[in-house]
């Protein structure tokens, strides 16, 4: 069920070398993508620790996206292999605890894949709209 007027908040951790460049290219190419995304530039997708992702959810994100170079293209050779191992595990743990693993998206986007970046963000945005606001992992204190 699509919620009316719900604009999800998306935090995207983008690797400096590929995905951020991809986002940049999307910008210069005037490809329009959802403005619900807030990009955090990280040196490598493996820089993204679990605590950062959870903290984003806690503080109000409805979805978190981790984007890095395609496997094999990592600027630091093996960084994204680590991301891959870690994120698979985090997703299973999160779903084991009954939270929504679909709210965490991991994607490989290279520096020239502006269209892919646009597509990814938009489809994630649509998916989150369907899911509605995330309230399982959110700190409720400011809502009193």
């Amino acid at each position: 069920m699509m919620q009316q007027n719900f604009e999800p908040k998306i935090i995207a951790f983008c690797c400096n070398w590929c995905s951020y460049a991809g986002a940049d290219l999307a910008g210069t190419g005037r490809l329009k993508y959802s403005e619900n995304i807030r990009i955090v530039r990280v040196p490598c997708s493996s820089r993204v620790e679990v605590q950062m992702i959870l903290r984003a959810f806690q503080n109000g994100a409805d979805g978190v996206m981790v984007a890095g170079c395609h496997p094999g293209d990592c600027h630091y050779d093996t960084g994204n292999y680590h991301t891959r191992r870690r994120m698979v595990l985090l997703k299973s743990l999160v779903s084991f605890m009954g939270m929504d693993p679909e709210r965490l998206l991991v994607k490989w986007i290279s520096g020239n894949e502006a269209a892919r970046f646009q597509e990814t963000v938009d489809s994630f945005n649509d998916q989150l709209k369907k899911l509605g606001p995330s309230n399982k992992v959110r700190d409720q204190r400011c809502e009193i």
């Binding site: 679990v50 605590q51 959870l54 903290r55 959810f57 806690q58 496997p71 094999g72 093996t78 292999y81 680590h82 891959r84 191992r85 870690r86 994120m87 698979v88 595990l89 985090l90 299973s92 743990l93 999160v94 779903s95 084991f96 605890m97 009954g98 939270m99 929504d100 998206l105 991991v106 994607k107 490989w108 489809s123 399982k136 992992v137 959110r138 700190d139 409720q140 204190r141």
Partner: protein, 294 residues
């Protein structure tokens, strides 16, 4: 059969008398028959109080990281799981093997209070290999549980949870986690939780927040605690045992162990070589994020 306590005391006294070690880290009886606690014997007289029984559940190897133990020669009694935890610490250069005199025990399974530790039911590495320790206790106690090791059965508890719907799982953990008082005993008792400064103790950025009325804060703590020891877990079950609120924390670790196994093959901490599965990564790992999601 010889009395295990007699053997323990003899070994400890011999080590202390010959000045091979400064202290012996073992167990002693508490106030009540169902209490056994960690104990440090520094003299021959103190060594007489050493014991080992079904209630010797604490993991002693964790203590070695404390400042108070640095630079001392220490003899330490080890159950199977504690031994594997210690091996990890040695492998990661957190303790010096040459400062230690390892005394291996055959663990009969342990319990806290009346309940047998869930992990012990499916433990197959309860005995410390003789060739890897300096002294091996030859006598052993009657096993507390009849072990019929089956790899699948050892995960039966998490299967039950996995069968639930997402909502049911969420409610289950919500109920369990909201009892958490954030006493950090699960972290402090864990033999493989070995960071010098824990991220939860860092004030800047203050990752954790003192509020215990927020489920989000509990989730944050427990997901990250479990995750940080995911590939290092030796399966001692100390996290669940020390928890005064009986939160089944070992289930989180079990789940992670099984997932790791599914994706990257079996790895047994303290038996297999380092690095642990999460401190390495390979090009040919399965890629779950490559496929397009439509």
């Amino acid at each position: 059969m010889r009395d295990i306590n007699k053997e323990i005391i003899e070994i400890a006294q011999e080590l202390l008398e010959s000045n091979k070690v400064d202290m012996v880290l073992g167990y002693t009886k508490g106030e009540r028959p169902d209490q056994t606690f960690p104990f440090i014997a520094k003299t021959k007289e103190e060594a007489e109080r050493l014991t080992f029984d079904y209630y010797s559940y604490n993991s002693l190897s964790k203590y070695l990281l404390d400042d108070m133990y640095q630079g001392k020669k220490i003899a330490i009694f080890l159950k199977g799981c504690d031994f594997r935890g210690l091996k990890l610490m040695i492998g990661e250069d957190r303790v010096k093997r040459e400062d230690l005199h390892l005394i291996g025990l055959d663990c009969p399974g342990v319990k806290r209070g009346e309940s047998v530790s869930p992990y012990c039911l499916s433990c197959r590495l309860n005995n410390v290999p003789k060739e890897e320790v300096d002294t091996k206790i030859s006598t052993s106690l009657e096993p507390l549980v009849e072990r019929k090791y089956s790899h699948e059965e050892s995960f039966s508890e998490i299967n039950d949870i996995e069968k639930m719907s997402n909502e049911e799982r969420f409610e289950y953990w919500k109920r369990q986690l909201s009892r958490c008082k954030r006493c950090y005993s699960c972290r402090n008792g864990c033999p493989v939780c070995t960071c010098r400064v824990c991220l939860f103790d860092r004030e800047n950025p203050g990752y954790i927040d003192g509020a215990t009325d927020q489920l989000a804060q509990h989730q944050f703590y427990h997901v990250i605690r479990a995750f940080h020891v995911a590939d290092r877990c030796v399966g001692c079950g100390e996290c669940s045992r020390v928890c005064p609120e009986n939160i089944p924390l070992h289930l989180l670790s079990q789940k992670l162990i099984r997932e790791l196994e599914k994706f990257y093959g079996t790895y047994t901490t303290g038996v297999d070589e380092l690095p642990t599965p999460l401190s390495t990564a390979k090009a040919n790992d399965p890629d779950h994020f490559g496929k397009e999601v439509k």
